[in-house]
Amino acid sequence: MGKSLYEKVFERHTVALLPSGQVQLFMGLHLIHEVTSPQAFSMLDELGLKVAFPARTFATVDHIVPTTSQLRPLQDSLAEQMMVHLEGNVGRHGIRFFSPDKGEQGIVHVVGPEQGLTQPGMTICCGDSHTSTHGAFGAIAFGIGTSQVRDVLATQTLAMNRLKVRRIEVNGKLRPGVYAKDVALYVINRLGVNGGVGYAYEYAGEVFDNFSMDERMTVCNMSIEGGARCGYVNPDQTTYQYLKGRPFAPSGDAWAKAVADWDSMKSDSDAAFDDVVRYDAADIEPMVTWGIHPGQSLAVGDKIPAAVDAIADERESMTEAYRYMSFEPGQPINGTRIDVAFIGSCTNGRLSDFAEVARLIQGKNLKVASHVRALVVPGSQSMREEMIALGLDKIFATAGFEFREAGCSMCLAMNPDKLQGRQVCASSSNRNFKGRQGSPTGRTLLMSPAMVAAAAIKGEVTDARRLFGIA
């Protein structure tokens, strides 16, 4: 019987069996940011410990940075304090910091891949649940808490339990105007927001084979929204082409050896899985969330479901969602008026996301509706430069989108980009939890970047395929 990539990576990184029955696992790459690391460094200091493998930890700053100006000191004194702590900690422990003043800053899950740090067959962790993103490269990547960040700093290892593996195949071809984000929302809708608890997801099938790295990252990113701590795609030529030539990727003689090694980590063709589910790509439509968790979604042409039709567990949450979102069951999602449009985040804030939206809006004299505030927020500073080099900034500005500095921005409420009151936001991010976008009563509708752009222009939720003439 063959092995899955998950099993191979797990075995390769096993250090020891712990008395608790857990496995001590070596972490190939540790990423840190300003929110979940300061307390971990304090704990390390209290224990009188040093960072064991400083060359395997990398830092950036993303959640708190304003996307208007990154000039220091930051206007928000709490944010400035967090920045100062991070700078102090990385300096003291000799950790490489992708900092704003060097133009290397960005969302941690954008920067890792972009720098070539994220590689197949690795174990990757970060005090951030969307670390699952890095699984797109065939890595086992997952979020950890701050006490675990302390453990990784002190030992480069974690106490882990082995997960089960569910293979999710999406076969056939996606229809035009259906994107990776729609696949992610569809899978979560089908398997539920806690369907993945205890599992790693292996994404496979023709759709994933044909996906670019950016698209694979979008789906792996949202594994955690389906309850799965990590999700991965087996590495292939697409993965290697992406990595080749990146700053931290192997080069010269090492390249061929690395590729051979990466190839050997793929799931064997006779690997056994704890569960297998299969979907037909042709069944997937552009998706929009209507509720207060990412599983409460529907195809853009559909009507908001009735609680009575749902399983008992979901009913209460749906009833609360109707109230919070001011929706009625049976109401179409199409035509829902929006106030804010946000394109960005570690889910959909990559170059190809922006390039696709720019392609759709360019030259059609389309403008953001007068009552809508629309933000375009690049995932990293270097990507922002690329966007400018490609002229995307101008296309967005001409259409009435604000082109901002890199960061997490309106994905969550830790920087000045926030919803006000009960505003409704069409968002390319990953969470529609109550209050997620900065107003305790703000409302989030998750969708693909193309659908966000369409909503921005029409001023309400609308089928991007119709608006942009995608056939």
Binding site: H13, T14, V15, A16, L18, P19, S20, G21, Q22, F26, T36, P38, Q39, S42, L47, L49, H63, A79, Q81, M82, G121, G127, D128, S129, T131, G143, G145, T146, S147, Q148, D151, A154, T155, Q156, T157, L158, A159, N161, V193, N194, V197, G227, P250, D253, K257, A258, D261, H293, D313, E314, E316, L412, A413, M414, R431, F433, K434, R436, G438, P440
Partner: protein, 204 residues
């Protein structure tokens, strides 16, 4: 030194109903703009509390009847969402300090974070969860005892079996939930593993 063994924990209980209560609700992101965990307890469920107040209702964390509560009773998929340890830290630091959570199911990262902090998260079936919450709502002073060794929660005269993974349960019962020491003890093996990994040595 404080005893780190978590064998028997006593209430009173706090019933907090609802499935899929996410970490953004447990501690809204704006309170994450800090470099310590101090003071987070005051902000636990802040937005939920406020919104209920506006609707003329009372969140259990604002309800004086539950102010002395130390064991929290929740429902399904509690703690889903982000990995922020600020969430269990806030719960642990609220009021008289929550020392254990009993629910139908927990999100994985949240569960692990709680274990790291010495806070057991144990599960009960849906019928028991509802029965216990109702019992505490009816009588906030009802005696509540979590017996982690005997795998049961006692509420008044009733006993409900609880479940928890054997590994973490043993860690908590024996007071070995603070993992750093155990991990550090294997430093020679850690270095061996690192040396064996081709990417660590740069594919030489």
């Amino acid at each position: 030194m404080q005893d780190s063994r978590r064998e028997t924990l006593f209430g009173p209980g706090v019933p907090l109903r609802g499935n899929d209560i996410d970490t953004d609700r447990i501690i809204p992101a704006r309170f994450l703009r800090t470099v310590t965990f101090d003071g987070l307890g005051d902000h636990a469920f802040e937005d939920d509390r406020l919104q209920l107040k506006e609707q003329g209702k009372v969140h259990p964390f604002d309800d004086p009847r539950f102010a002395d509560g130390t064991i929290l009773f929740v429902n399904k998929n509690f703690g889903c969402g982000s990995s922020r340890e600020h969430a269990p830290q806030a719960i642990k630091r609220w009021g008289k300090c929550i020392t254990a959570i009993v629910g139908e199911s927990f999100a994985e990262i949240f569960f692990g974070n709680c274990v790291s902090l010495g806070v057991p998260c144990v599960t009960v079936d849906a019928v028991s969860a509802d029965a216990i919450q109702s019992a505490i709502e009816a009588d906030p002073n009802v005696a509540v005892k979590l017996d982690l060794r005997g795998k049961a929660v006692h509420v008044g005269v009733n006993r409900y079996p609880v479940e928890m993974g054997e590994g973490p349960r043993q860690q908590l019962v024996e007071g070995r939930w603070d993992t750093t020491g155990e991990l550090l003890a294997n430093m020679p093996k850690i270095r061996e593993t690192a040396n064996r990994l081709k990417y660590v040595s740069g594919y030489k």
